[in-house]
């Protein structure tokens, strides 16, 4: 008789979820189990949004905010009014390993988190720069812009952290003390973007310029109540099973390709560049 290590009972473990690389559901769940110690601290007390692809990333998927019917009674949820859905939504909270494994068993491929926690939903604990290259602008262009953002923040004495989006962009975050509101962090991020747009030909900072070809958009709009960011170490819905991976700034300088960070490589990464992120909450001066 096996010892009970989890409350979750697994299903359809041999189902192929990433057909290009023949990754099974068992491998997928194993990834989330292995990455859990690094991932869980980011999820705690945040109402999550999931993208579920029960039949694999090449088949139909859907966003899921509402906790599904028939979930086990030990899964914690919170009922909140969703501004986008215009109704009360029963959000899932993932505060423990069992819930994460349960989510993986539901084939929640991507986990998206809000930038604030439940006890102060209007006061974010991260300021977030979503650096998004529009082709033919590339990841390399996004890296250049991310490094410029870092430089700007360094000048302000702010320590910033960077991760790949898992697709073509980069995410830069500042862990902050929960004093300013979303409106204020959004204005702060927007301001930095506008400064960069003046200095660098390739950068655009206004929402209307989002899809301008060969530009890199420094997106400030995600710093909003009700918006979410793909959480660090979340898998992405890409054929190559890429991961939104926290990096050292030196990795960005070296232009390591984001395609190298996948379901296979990320669990064995020795270093954890975001290890001290929660110990470095900084005061964000907003005018």
């Amino acid at each position: 008789m096996t010892e009970k290590l989890t409350k979750v009972s697994f299903s359809n473990l041999d189902k192929i979820l990433y057909p290009k690389l023949k990754i099974t559901k068992a491998q997928f769940i194993e990834y989330y189990i292995k990455i859990a110690p690094k991932l869980l601290p980011f999820l705690a007390e945040r109402p999550l949004v999931l993208t579920r692809y029960p039949n694999g990333v090449d088949k139909e998927g859907f966003y899921e905010k509402d906790a599904p019917q028939g979930m086990p009674n030990w899964v914690k949820t919170v009922k909140l009014y969703s501004e986008t859905a215009k109704r009360n939504v029963n959000y899932i909270l993932c505060n423990d390993l069992d819930t994460l494994i349960w989510l993986a068993n539901l084939v929640a491929i991507e986990i998206h988190m809000p930038l604030s926690r439940l006890d102060a939903r209007e006061k974010p604990d991260f300021a977030f720069f979503d650096i998004d290259p529009e082709p033919p602008a590339t990841y390399e262009d996004a890296s250049t812009v991310a490094l410029s953002v870092k430089e700007k923040l360094d000048q302000l004495g702010l320590k910033s952290y960077v991760k790949t989006s898992g697709k073509k962009g980069l995410h830069v975050l500042i862990p902050i003390l929960r004093e300013p509101t979303f409106k204020e962090t959004r204005a702060f991020v927007h301001q930095i973007g506008q400064q960069l747009a003046k200095e660098l030909e390739i950068v655009v900072s206004e929402f209307i310029d989002t899809k301008k070809p060969n530009k890199v958009f420094v997106d400030y709009t995600q710093n909003s109540h009700g918006r979410t960011m793909v959480c660090p170490y979340s898998l992405r819905v890409t054929p190559e099973a890429t991961v939104s991976t926290p990096l050292d700034w030196s990795d960005v300088k070296k232009k390591i390709k984001p395609a190298e960070f996948t379901i296979f490589s990320v669990p064995s990464l020795k270093k954890d560049p975001w290890k001290d992120i929660f110990e470095n909450r900084q005061k964000l001066e907003v005018k």
């Binding site: 008789m1 697994f10 068992a26 194993e30 189990i33 292995k34």
Partner: protein, 284 residues
């Protein structure tokens, strides 16, 4: 660990008892399996069709005697005994022994009748003139939107002891049907085609039957009259099921088989990862 097992068993007993109780009464289904309308000439009666027949006999699962694991079926090639995966399966119609006409999915699809959401009634017959050997399965019809037409049809069939005879297409099959009144509702009964019921003229035994003596016949009729009564289906109990259920209850208190999750290779891999993660989380 021993304790855990016992608790699990107890819970199972409680659950089983509950389901046994529930099974005594068949509850009303919640969702219609078909919606459309009964059409009689130009008259339309919109209806929803619900299941009303259940098969509640005793069901067993086949297990592997050596480890009590559930078994499943595989399709096996009769020539090389190899398991054949679904994508390699086609349908064949046996025209003579071991000679098949192969059908493609499209060909079969084209032959299927289209569902036109109608129960077409062509005529009315005396309900009791249709022999039950033709009855296949019954469904209950509920009024959809319009009560009046449904009520009118129900009342008139009830008063006259008549049933509407006609056709319906359910999923991909067309059936002859009867619509009749049963306990204050319209019930649709699908019928077997005539070719599905044996032609009894083939039995030699029937041809050799002698006509009985008049006195014998009178006596037999008297016996039948004496034993006549109202039919009550609830007087008949499934004693086999009752006995099996009794045994199950007894066994659950003692030594029931608890099926363990098959310790597949994949699960083993997950457990290794899980142990490592739990160790790391503990350190934190």
């Amino acid at each position: 660990m021993e304790k855990k097992t016992n608790r699990a068993k107890k819970q199972e007993v409680v659950e089983t008892e509950k389901t046994v109780e529930n099974e005594e009464k068949a509850s009303a289904p919640r969702r219609p399996i078909w919606t459309g309308s009964i059409t009689i000439g130009l008259i339309n009666v919109p209806v929803k069709l619900y299941a009303m027949i259940y098969d509640r006999g005793v069901r067993f699962h086949f297990l592997h005697k050596l480890d009590n694991q559930p078994l499943r079926y595989q399709k096996v090639c009769t020539k090389d005994e190899k398991i054949v995966p679904w994508p390699e399966v086609v349908k064949g119609y046996e025209v003579s022994k071991n000679e098949f006409v192969i059908f493609g999915k499209e060909e079969l699809e084209a032959a299927k009748p289209e569902s036109d959401k109608r129960i077409r009634i062509d005529k009315f017959v005396d309900y009791f003139s249709v022999d039950p050997v033709y009855f296949s399965s019954s469904y209950v019809l509920m009024p959809d939107k319009n009560n009046d037409a449904y009520s009118l049809l129900l009342q008139s069939l009830e008063k006259m002891g008549k049933a509407g005879a006609g056709r319906i297409t359910l999923r991909t099959k067309e059936y002859p049907v009867l619509v009749h009144a049963y306990k204050g509702a319209l019930v649709l009964t699908t019928l077997r085609y005539s070719y599905d019921v044996a032609d009894l003229s083939g039995f030699e035994e029937l041809k050799e039957l002698k006509a009985p003596e008049k006195a014998e016949l009178e006596l037999a009729k008297k016996i039948i009259t004496d034993l006549s009564g109202e039919f009550d289906i609830t007087a008949y109990k499934d004693t086999y099921r009752q006995k099996v259920e009794k045994t199950i209850k007894k066994r659950l208190k003692g030594e029931a088989i608890i099926v363990e999750k098959p310790p597949k290779e994949e699960v083993k891999g997950l457990m290794v990862a899980l142990r490592e993660t739990l160790k790391q989380l503990e350190k934190k």
